[in-house]
Amino acid sequence: MAIYLQTIANGLMLGALYACLAVGFSLVWGVLNVINMLHGSFIILGGYLTYFAWHYYGIHPIVMLPVVALLMFALGFVLQRGAINRVVSAPVLTTLTLTFGLDMILYNLMTYWFTATPRRITLDLGAANLGPVVLPVDRLLGTGLALLLTFLLYAVMRGSNIGRAIVAVRMDRTAAELMGIRTDRIYAITFGIGTLMAGAAGVVFALVFPITTNVSGTWLGKAFVVCVVGGLGSVPGALVGGLVLGLVESFAGFWFGPQNAITAGFVLMLVLLLTRPTGLMGVKGYE
């Protein structure tokens, strides 16, 4: 029994991290219609900023969270304005190619500056016990932050003018323009928010995982899966997708061995794609 509870706890904590990782990716995809190949590298960049602030200046990662978020927002805003906006209405493949090219540049810069050496923030906050279940404190903290960030984003999307404008653009760009919404600006802000969320995920991940440029592709792949499982472009979708993926990987690893844990996630994704292409929480019309 205890092992099942532990497996559920492992899955939920991992799932919250996955949700945090994917929500920005999902938003950009849903609103801008851009598959952002830079997303994995943005997460790593956020992680490096956090690591270096901690390593050289002793700044606690949580303090860095707003700083990294702001910097990443600025980076995303500028990138969208200067580069991606030029082809934003082109077909999916063109924008994908562009972000692929940009990712090559960012990846190369990071490998050059930071080297690929895996680094880790050695805070080691210990673990809490809840009955027979062990809950690592940094994962709990990561889970909390991930949920908080996701919730904040949700609140912004629902409650603020900007958020409502973003939703409007996602639903119908032309109509939104007719209503006086400046779509260019909304696109840049959305991309900025997507980048911000990637950076914030990087901060959270820096608490839990070793940081290295090698894993940017892995994180990008996870973002794909989470989006499909949960449904594109919606914040609750990413949350549900992340949690489901975390649980599935956790149980598959327990039952079928780690060899098949990731495979199970992909199988789930394909099955969902075919049976419910809009994802568990998706809205019709975004395919």
């Binding site: 995809w29 077909p91 562009l98 090219g101 540049i105 190369n108 050059y112 794609l273």
Partner: protein, 312 residues
């Protein structure tokens, strides 16, 4: 482009690559073979990605499966050429089956579905270690011949596959199939309404996009002599092939092969000269091309004509 110009371009290109053994060393030959290899991959991708407009990222899956099927056959004593054929046929059958399932998806969802196939193939091949050797990879019996002969052989094999893929492209381009695929690209629902069997057409395009990738994969495995799951099923390769086709001009006959040639040659120059910065430079080139030549290299022709027409 006029048909005659197309044929001329293809023949000139193939002859250029095929005559390298007359004057160049094995490195140039290998580069020429790599151009042909990626040319064949990009031309294959063009059936589904270019003509039909479905953003497919399955290339590496077909390549990797072809490599594995071919290798496993060869290790069981089947002669090389037969092994390649078995790989080609079985992967094509696999693609047809798979196409029947995932082509129900459209747009983004199809894109992710097809990219997931690559990752899934890698994971399955990796864990099925009785058959595939798992993470250890597999050795392919090396061909015992002089390096010159081996390089030449694989140059001509890759050129043969490229030529075959181009011939099929021309046939499809001219046929009802090509017309139907373009209709699907424009508007799938409308295409279905005017009586095009969209499902069958899409499956045909998807299968065509797999056939030559499988042959290339099997031939590549025999060439290198060793394959493993990570190198055989690379997401990077899958994206790169699509990028090549777009660079050259997706949906055209010679564009994808042209894009592959440009991409491979640029890569060669950058690796050789900029050891620390090769990726970034290639990235910059891709970004600039997307900005200034979004229609691919072939659109440059039209632009130049327009520019010179304006001047005159």
């Amino acid at each position: 482009m006029k048909p005659l110009a197309q044929y001329a371009a293809i023949i000139v290109g193939l002859v250029l690559l095929g005559t390298t053994p007359l004057y160049a060393d094995n490195y140039i030959l290998r580069t020429a073979a790599t151009v042909a290899m990626y040319g064949a991959l990009a031309t294959s991708w063009n059936f589904i990605g270019g003509f039909t407009g479905y953003p497919s990222f399955s290339t590496a899956a077909f390549f990797g499966l072809g490599a594995y099927v071919g290798t496993i056959c060869q290790r069981n004593g089947i002669p090389m050429g037969v092994a390649w054929t078995i790989a080609t046929v079985s992967v094509a059958a696999f693609a047809a089956l798979l196409g029947g399932i995932i082509l129900r998806l459209r747009g983004h969802y199809f894109a992710i579905g097809s990219i997931a196939i690559v990752e899934l193939c890698r994971l399955i091949v990796s864990s099925w270690s009785d058959l595939t050797g798992g993470g250890d990879g597999l050795n392919v019996p090396l061909i015992h011949a002089s390096p010159d002969a081996v390089t030449r052989l694989f140059l001509f094999v890759m050129l043969g596959i490229l030529a075959a893929s181009l011939v099929v492209t021309i046939i499809v381009d001219r046929s009802r199939l090509g017309f139907g695929l373009r209709c699907i690209h424009q508007n799938e629902d409308a295409a279905a309404m005017v009586g095009i069997n969209t499902t069958a057409y899409k499956i045909a395009a998807y299968t065509l996009s797999a056939v030559f990738c499988a042959t290339v994969g099997a031939a590549y495995a025999s060439w290198t002599g060793y394959i493993d799951p990570t190198d055989s099923f690379q997401i990077v390769m899958t994206v790169k092939v699509a990028v090549m086709a777009i660079l050259g001009g997706a949906g055209t006959v010679v564009g994808p092969a042209l894009g592959a040639a440009a991409f491979v040659l640029l890569e060669e120059v950058f690796w050789a000269n900029f050891i620390d910065w090769n990726r970034a430079i290639l990235g910059v080139v891709i970004v600039l091309l997307i900005f200034f030549l979004p229609g691919g290299l072939l659109s440059l022709r039209a632009r130049l004509r327009r520019a010179s027409g304006g001047a005159a």
